[in-house]
């Protein structure tokens, strides 16, 4: 992890992305404490759709809620969904990739054909299909679903790395000196795939933020009144001409966050994974 930070700081893009993400995480953690709470902010005396000004730097929306507060609260939700979903898919991808690569043979063939099949269906449509069935999808189920559909490429990358590492002399040496299978898998194989995993995780965060925004925009992701960036853009649609700030700011937040994660991901890839997996 520490090595990852050092690696990402080596390029200007990586530095900028890392700085923005750091700022965003701080904002998501502590911002809501400093700003008016959007949940309790249906102030009927306040005008709705006010333009950005000293009182409301990002303006207010049609329910006269402070857009800045909502964008900051949305950061909390978007980042939490992204972090948890990515943690789940990286764990699944690493586990399944290691199993397939280490055992090989029919186990490998079965798992990889499943992955091929899963990759043939676009992730968004897969999620739309599942999410449109129930009346209302709780947040944790959304995270589980996004996480469970995000491990396919990671699994493939880890499998490929495992296949390569298995043939390394140091793995052979560890076996010859009596290391147990568990030690070989976790110590010699998993730890050596940390680089590609970190890259996959970082780029995955950007993907998930976009995906969650898209789903929320379609009304199938995070449910109101919980603020989410995608949901805010959907809310802004009818008033986009009269009050563009309601949609512009969450849109900007999405763009910048995804840009930042991709910058960090690319920097990491350059530093840790020269073959560009």
């Amino acid at each position: 992890m520490a090595a990852g930070f050092r690696a990402a700081r080596r390029t200007p893009g990586g530095r900028a992305g890392l700085a923005f993400l750091f700022f965003l995480v701080l904002l998501a953690l502590f911002g809501p404490l400093l700003l008016p709470d959007p949940f309790h902010q249906f102030d009927l005396l306040e005008a709705s759709n006010t333009a950005p000004g000293p009182d409301h730097p990002f303006g207010t929306d049609q329910l006269s809620r402070d857009v800045l507060s909502r964008v900051v609260s949305g950061a909390r939700i978007s980042l939490a969904v992204a972090a948890l979903a990515v943690a789940l898919s990286v764990t699944l991808g690493a586990g399944i990739g290691l199993v397939a690569g280490y055992w090989g043979g029919p186990v490998d063939a079965t798992l990889m054909r499943l992955v091929d099949g899963a990759l043939a269906i676009p992730r968004l449509f897969l999620l739309l299909l599942v999410l449109s069935v129930p009346e209302r999808v709780p947040l944790f189920a959304l995270i589980l679903l996004i996480g469970a559909t995000g491990w396919f490429t990671t699994g493939r990358v880890v499998r490929a790395e495992t296949l390569r590492l298995r043939e390394e002399t140091f793995v052979r040496a560890a076996e010859a000196l009596g290391a147990s299978r568990r030690r070989i898998i976790f110590r010699h194989l998993l730890v050596n795939t940390a680089g590609p995993l970190l890259v996959a995780a970082t780029l995955g965060v950007g993907d998930v933020i976009l995906l969650e925004a898209g789903l929320s925009y379609l009304g199938l992701g995070v449910q109101p009144p919980t603020p989410s960036w995608g949901g805010m853009i959907m809310d802004a649609r009818p008033v986009l001409e009269a009050a563009p700030w309601v949609g512009i700011f969450p849109g900007l937040a999405i763009t910048l966050t995804v840009l930042a994660t991709n910058l960090v991901g690319d920097a990491l890839r350059e530093a840790l994974d020269p073959r560009g997996a």
Binding site: A173, A176, L177, G178
Partner: protein, 324 residues
């Protein structure tokens, strides 16, 4: 002399796509006594590395050790072991060093970690004790400032230092036998001598048996008690080192000596052995060296046994019958 290893009629086979099996190691027998160094000499592809891997049952799939082979480690029948019992002889009773110290260490862990791993794989020990043991081992293999080197990563060390670390790891569980598979091939000549010195000293101090696998006769000279020369999956000549150097008898061994320069004696042209080692899928019938042998005769069309040429000196060649 205590016999620590007895290998008899070891055959390792791989399947061909045609459903047949070929034998890269085909009937190898040798023994190893406590405190003794046996050198296994041969060209690439003669089966010497595969022989060493078979000792700890690490022949890569789909290869296998054939029925009828025997590997006895003291009183243990290695070929009858499974699972955990097998893991416990690896490292604990047979330690291994590999050719390339650049790739035989895990790049992401410190050398201290990796030696401690070897220690803790076979003995219940606290982390602190294992670390202290790792330090002592680094000292034993002649690494300066061992305490400071514990936290070094492999890429921070030179090739010679890495090979010393590898030896320390192989020694971690105090094995009775150390198998060194081309331990100096990837190293500079000066470093080679140092590494061989370390191995020799450890053998003397600990009474370990060493199986030294090499293609370099020069390495064998001062270090090994006995030499077994391998060709095409078989041992073709074996003798005490001095005897072999003075009276190389098998035409192949003679060819090996003729193809390396000598420091003493008149300068002559080096004579390479014509042709190449045949692949294990197409070994010639009869004597396997026959197609390349300058002294082949009618009887070479029948496969020779290991025949005596002198005390403790045998070779797989019908010529032994003429001289003896």
């Amino acid at each position: 002399m205590t016999r620590v290893l007895d290998v008899r009629d070891l055959r390792v086979s791989f399947p061909t796509s045609a459903g047949r099996r070929f034998h890269p190691v085909d009937g190898v027998s040798f023994t190893l006594d406590r405190g003794e160094t046996l050198a296994l000499v041969g060209e690439s592809g003669c089966g010497k590395s595969l022989t060493s891997l078979a000792l700890v049952r690490l022949v890569p799939a789909p290869g296998r050790v054939d029925a009828g082979s025997t590997i006895r480690l003291g009183d243990t029948d290695v070929l009858a072991l499974e699972g955990e019992a097998l893991r416990r002889i690896r490292g604990k009773r047979i330690g291994m060093i590999f050719q390339d110290p650049m790739t035989s260490l895990n790049p992401v862990f410190t050398v201290g970690d990796q030696i401690a791993e070897g220690v803790r794989a076979h003995a219940r020990m606290s982390r602190a004790d294992a670390r202290e043991r790792a330090r002592a081992l680094l000292q034993e293999v002649g690494i300066p400032d061992p305490a400071g080197r514990l936290d070094a990563y492999p890429h921070q060390l030179s090739g010679g230092m890495r090979q010393r670390v590898m030896i320390a790891i192989a020694l971690a569980a105090e094995p009775e036998i150390l198998v060194a598979d081309e331990p100096t091939t990837a190293l500079d000549v000066t470093v080679q001598a140092q590494i061989l010195e370390v191995l020799d000293e450890l053998r003397r101090r600990r009474g370990m048996a060493v199986l030294l696998i090499t293609h370099d006769l020069g390495i064998v000279a001062g270090r090994a008690d006995r030499v077994a020369v391998m060709y095409a999956g078989q041992i073709v000549e074996e003798a005490p080192t001095l005897e072999l150097f003075e009276h190389p008898s098998h035409p192949y061994t003679q060819g090996l000596f003729a193809s390396v320069p000598r420091i003493t004696g008149p300068v002559t042209r080096l004579t390479p052995i014509g042709g190449t080692v045949p692949p294990p899928t197409a070994w010639p019938s009869g004597c396997r060296f026959r197609p390349r042998c300058p002294q082949a005769f009618e009887k070479s069309e029948r496969p020779p046994e290991l025949l005596p040429v002198g005390p403790a000196h045998r070779m797989r060649c019908w010529l032994a019958e003429r001289s003896g």
